[in-house]
């Protein structure tokens, strides 16, 4: 750590040009995310939460303003460089779990590691991370379709953690789970944060947001 915040948004705007007129998804947003934070991003639908998360995850670049990830400006980067940043420094957790249906649980976890190292013998590390998620060994070889929602989300979290990212981005991680399972997933995330992982999480649910130590509210593309 070089004193730089993990993530810094400087006057960031995102405008989507549409035939009916430009849509401003983010409007002059400035914020920082320090190492080790657990942040909940809240706001009504269409307020720009997802756009903010996509920018943090280097999936999108701003129309105006600058974004720094560990002091590195990302706006001018090539698609390949952005992809590499996502692969090596960011973990994504989605509401729909988004596991690859053709791959088994353990292969899903291995996937980002294989992308990073180019090696297929990454089984050891994948198994290790899956066990940290308290997933039964017997389920490792199951395809996503054969797992419950909670099990799928554990696999997805393991996949997000396998490359030991600096930042974990969660988009409604409990949105498709019952309350009890959702709580269990949040416990896992809270534990990861206590062990030093930086987490930014978009959620509607105040109960889920309560796990975070800071909340950013977005309304009409602005930080409220």
């Amino acid at each position: 750590m070089n004193g730089e915040p993990l993530l810094r948004f400087v006057d960031v705007s995102k405008v989507y040009p549409l035939p009916a007129g430009d849509v401003v998804a983010l409007d002059h947003v400035s914020l920082t995310v320090e190492h080790g934070e657990f942040i909940a991003v809240m706001g009504p639908s269409g307020s720009g939460k997802s756009t903010l998360l996509n920018m943090m995850g280097c999936l999108d670049v701003p129309t105006r303003g600058k974004i720094y990830l560990s002091g590195q400006e990302i706006s001018g980067m090539s698609d390949d460089d952005l992809t590499r940043l996502r692969r090596d420094h960011i973990g994504f957790i989605f509401q729909q779990f988004n596991l690859i249906p053709l791959l088994s649980a353990v292969e899903n976890v291995e996937f980002p590691l294989v992308l990073k190292t180019g090696r297929t013998e990454s089984r050891q590390r994948a198994v290790e991370v899956l066990r940290m998620m308290h997933l039964d060994d017997a389920l490792f070889s199951h395809k996503p379709g054969e797992l419950s929602g909670g099990e799928q989300q554990r696999v997805a979290i393991a996949r997000a953690l396998v490359n030991d990212p600096d930042l974990l981005l969660c988009d409604e991680p409990t949105g498709n789970l019952d309350t009890k399972t959702g709580m269990a997933i949040m416990e896992i995330l809270a534990t990861e944060n206590r062990e030093g992982k930086t987490i930014v999480m978009v959620t509607h649910d105040p109960g889920v947001a309560a796990y975070a130590r800071r909340t950013i509210r977005i309304v009409d593309g602005r930080v409220a």
Binding site: L59, D79, D80, R86, F92, I100, L102, L115
Partner: protein, 397 residues
């Protein structure tokens, strides 16, 4: 390996779809290879019939209606080249060897079988020059011995020493000519070959039916042709002078055109197959849009996505081409045999089989074409997949 594995699994997940796309490639490859082989087999067959006479100039009596085709049946009409003209041809041919011959037909009887056979009569010294010997001796002078063509000998079980009846007279077979195939100068395989003396002794002096000039140097063909024309045809068309090279070229041109046409038909079927691959791949990319978005967002680069989908079409192409190649090789054997059969009735010696190298060549060509087509067909969908915006792709339902 990971992406190949994913491609294989996706193809397995949609077995019927993959199978049908593969069938398309199989049909295309088989079509190209077998049509190519069949064309080439025909080429070899006809080539075998006529290729040994490229050094030949054929001088035949001029027929007003002659088409200039040496195989035209009108060429057998009674007409002749006079002894005087033969002398002029010899003069024009210079050092190149001139063989005047009489073509006749007579009743042939061997034991209980009888029918008509072609008789070639030519100077005794020219027989060894034109014909190879399979067994026995060449006929000499006025002696009663005759030579028979190889296939006639096979069919009637003749060998040196056998007796046959030619025109009611019993004569002894002294030799069997080696198989020679169809030529524009002489087709001896089903014929009886006798010396000119033998023939004139029985039928009286006669003019010649045709004169064959064998050119020792192929580049001299044009000059010799012109010289013969100059000597004899100055005032009036008396003889037709045919150059076998021209005829051969015409044959090969026609056969080449046919070959290309046949390959074209095969190409069209492969084109259809490639459209089916294109279709399958577009469906595959559309179905997996969200998955592509996910892969891109967790760190798969564009070229890795491109590769994954290219592998799919490549696998379809390779499997289809291998199966198609095996089927083509089998079809090739059958096809070349049946082409041989087809021609066996009138083209006596055609080599029915074609060289293994030609078969391998066409099969390899068709397989390469099949694989190439699959890659080309798969490229557009793969490229589309790689260009997907990860955010939009992730949202795709």
């Amino acid at each position: 390996m990971l992406f190949i594995d994913l491609s294989v699994r996706n193809l397995r997940r949609h077995k019927v779809r993959s199978f049908l796309a593969t069938v398309g490639i199989i049909i295309g490859v088989v079509a190209i290879a077998s049509l190519g082989i069949m064309g080439s087999s025909l080429s070899t067959l006809v080539g075998g019939m006529v290729s040994d006479v490229s050094d030949t100039i054929l001088v035949t009596p001029h027929l007003a209606a002659s088409s200039g085709d040496p195989f035209d049946p009108r060429n057998t009409l009674a007409a002749s080249v006079s002894t005087k003209n033969v002398a002029l041809i010899e003069k024009a041919a210079g050092q190149h060897r001139t063989v005047p011959m009489i073509l006749a037909s007579d009743r042939l009887r061997v034991r209980d079988t009888s029918g008509y056979a072609t008789i070639y009569a030519m100077p005794a010294a020219d027989i060894p020059f034109l014909l190879e010997r399979e067994a026995g001796l060449y006929p000499q002078g006025r002696s009663s011995g005759v030579m028979v063509g190889s296939l006639l000998a096979d069919e009637l079980n003749l060998h040196p020493g056998s007796r046959i009846e030619v025109g009611g007279e019993s004569v002894r077979v002294v030799g069997v000519a080696a198989e020679r195939g169809m030529g524009i100068d002489i087709n001896p395989d089903y014929a009886v070959i006798v010396t000119e003396d033998w023939y004139t002794e029985r039928h009286g002096e006669r003019d010649y039916s045709r004169v064959v000039v064998k050119v020792s140097d192929l580049s001299a063909i044009e000059d010799v042709k012109a010289a013969i024309d100059q000597q004899i045809n100055r005032r009036k068309e008396v003889v037709d002078v045919l150059d076998s090279r021209e005829i051969l070229e015409l044959y090969y041109e026609t056969l080449d055109a046919m070959n290309i046409f046949l390959l074209g038909i095969g190409g069209v079927s492969l084109l259809v197959a490639s459209v089916s691959i294109l279709n399958v791949m577009i469906i595959s990319v559309t179905e997996r849009t969200a998955e592509i978005g996910l892969m891109r967002s967790i760190g798969a680069r564009k070229r890795e996505v491109l590769r994954m989908f290219l592998y799919e079409s490549l696998i379809l192409g390779v499997i289809g081409s291998i199966i198609g190649g095996i089927i083509s090789a089998a079809v090739a054997c059958y096809a070349s045999a049946s082409v041989g059969d087809l021609f066996a009735d009138f083209a006596v010696t055609g080599e029915a089989g074609i060289p293994v190298s030609v078969v391998i060549g066409y099969v390899a060509f068709a397989m390469a074409f099949g694989i190439g087509t699959s890659i080309v067909a798969g490229f557009y969908p793969a490229w589309k997949a790689a260009q997907l915006n990860p955010i939009e792709a992730l949202r795709y339902e």
